[in-house]
């Protein structure tokens, strides 16, 4: 046995023993039976799956629609904050106020205000659909975060790149469009994915509007049968969606680091 094989073997044995011991303690604790009945009931689990899948499909629709809008609106706000010149000061100010406000307000408050408050005004032409307002609220909240991510990316592109673009006669907007933003976006893909994961989880907040998404579906079932197992189905579904994305983010970060190392680090 080589030294490497030996250390793998030792790690394996120690891991099995460690988690085995924890498992044994949990399963043999005096209240394990109640825990299992309330949280890990196999029958309830199986019965909850179809409803939970219907619910999570709503979440997926919400966060995918919102994410597309967020990636666009966030970039518009980030660019607005970078506009030059005294004439455009009000635009910069507006963009700054927007990011400050929507990062400060609790998400649940924004969702409540928009989802219940705006339709209650009864204004003509304003939609009443809760799905619509859920998407709008999440878009407004997350665009504030995402615009800051974009802005950090834009500011990380060296000013000499802008100088080179402008010296060729490109306008401020063209320099952003063709030179700065493409480089900035590449650098901020990992933090953008991070915010996307946050958005996926926060899609459960729209349950307060009565949208029967996955969390609301679990809540309704739990209240009907007095068993918490449906929530575990919900938790499992979120893990199934977000963990692969988190691994993808890690992989992208590692790849980016490898590439930079290959070109000699600092550029």
């Amino acid at each position: 046995m080589t030294a490497r094989q030996r250390s793998v073997f030792v790690a394996l044995v120690s891991t099995v023993l460690f988690f085995g011991a924890i498992g044994w303690v949990v399963v043999n604790s005096p209240n394990w039976a109640e825990v299992q009945r309330e949280f890990l009931n196999p029958t309830v689990f199986a019965n909850a799956i179809p409803g939970q899948l219907r619910g999570v499909w709503i979440n997926i629709q919400i966060f995918l629609t919102a994410e597309v809008l967020i990636l666009v609106l966030g970039l518009v706000i980030a660019v607005a904050r970078s506009l030059p010149g005294p004439v455009l000061f009000p635009v910069r100010l507006l963009a700054t106020i927007y990011t400050d406000v929507f990062r400060a307000l609790p998400g649940i408050l924004v969702i409540t205000l928009l989802g219940f408050g705006v339709p209650a005004l009864g204004l003509p032409g304003i939609p009443n659909d809760r799905f619509f307002w859920a998407v709008v609220a999440l878009t407004l909240i997350y665009s504030a975060y995402v615009s800051e991510v974009y802005r950090a990316g834009i500011e990380s592109v060296h000013p000499s790149q802008t100088a080179a673009a402008r010296s060729l006669g490109l306008s401020h907007f063209q320099a952003l469009r063709y030179v700065v933003v493409p480089q900035a976006v590449r650098r901020v893909i990992p933090p953008l994915l991070n915010d996307f994961i946050g958005l996926q989880k926060d899609s459960a907040l729209v349950s307060i509007l009565g949208v029967v998404e996955v969390f609301q579906a679990a809540k309704l079932r739990q209240q009907a049968i007095f068993n918490f197992t449906p929530y575990l189905v919900t938790a499992l579904l979120f893990l199934l969606i977000t963990i692969p994305l988190a691994r993808l983010t890690d992989w992208l970060v590692a790849r980016e680091r490898r590439q930079r190392a290959a070109t000699g680090g600092v550029r």
Binding site: S160, Q161, A163, A164, A165, R166, S167, L168, G169, L170, S171, Q174, Y178, V179, P182, Q183, R186, T263, R267
Partner: protein, 252 residues
């Protein structure tokens, strides 16, 4: 030296400060069409700032710059239109790392001059082969040597067919064995009659190529004249001092 020609560039009383630091303190300079003027002087004497001012990359505090008869320091001027006619090449190349060589060269002709992709590609290909870069068309800047990158940067500036080309210490970031290939390109441009203002530390090169050398010291042009005069019998003690230091460093 070219015969009597139009005036490509006129600078009068140019002042520029960064905060409390006065970098340019009253620059007067004229450059004729097809003339090559080399700016020499110690680091911090204002050579780079002067070039950046001519390209309006730095706003000037006082004075006038006239390019091809048009006052470009006029505050109402369209800076993007002015910059189309003035090319600049930077010490650090500043190529766009996310684009291949061809896209680096064709970006401005396509987006600024509105040329079709085919037309811009053809012109870029012709320029790239002229400077020995034909086989590098599809490479990304990171995969090129410094000398190749700088030649691409020169081609990128030339693709806009500028009336005036500014070169800002374009060989200072290069390994010594890569300097010659870049200088050869500039020499060819001078032979072709390109009007150029060149900030450089390569005194031997300046002597060969320049019609006129201007010595900058502390933000002023202390003296200027034909290379033979400035480099061999300078009038000003500061110029002599500077040249002695250069000779001691083995750069002349």
């Amino acid at each position: 030296m070219t015969g009597p020609a139009g005036r490509a560039l006129l600078i009068e009383g140019l002042h520029k400060s960064f905060g409390s630091l006065e970098v340019l303190r009253g620059i007067d300079l004229t450059v004729a069409e097809h003339e090559v003027v080399c700016l020499i002087g110690a680091s911090g004497s204002g050579k780079s700032t002067l070039l950046r001012c001519i390209n309006l990359l730095e706003p000037v505090d006082a004075g006038r710059i006239v390019v091809g008869g048009e006052e470009i320091t006029d505050p109402t001027i369209d800076v993007d239109r002015v910059r189309r006619r003035i090319g600049i090449v930077f010490q650090a190349f500043n190529l766009f790392p996310h684009m291949n060589v061809l896209s680096n060269v064709t970006l401005a002709p396509r987006k600024v001059l509105g040329k079709s992709r085919a037309e811009a590609d053809d012109e870029a290909a012709a320029l790239l082969s002229r400077f020995g870069l034909a086989d590098k068309r599809l490479e990304y800047p990171d995969r090129l040597s410094g000398g190749q990158q700088q030649r691409v940067a020169i081609v990128r500036a030339l693709a806009m067919r500028p009336d005036l080309l500014l070169l800002d210490e374009v060989t200072s970031a290069l390994d010594p064995e890569l300097v010659a290939e870049v200088l050869d390109v500039i020499r060819e441009l001078a032979t072709g009659g390109m009007t150029m203002v060149i900030a450089t530390h390569e005194m031997g090169f300046a002597r060969d190529i320049a019609h006129r050398i201007a010595f900058l010291d502390a933000g002023q042009i202390l003296e200027q004249g034909p290379p033979a005069e400035i480099l061999t019998s300078p009038k000003e003690p500061r110029t002599r001092q500077f040249l002695q230091r250069v000779i001691r460093a083995g750069r002349l």
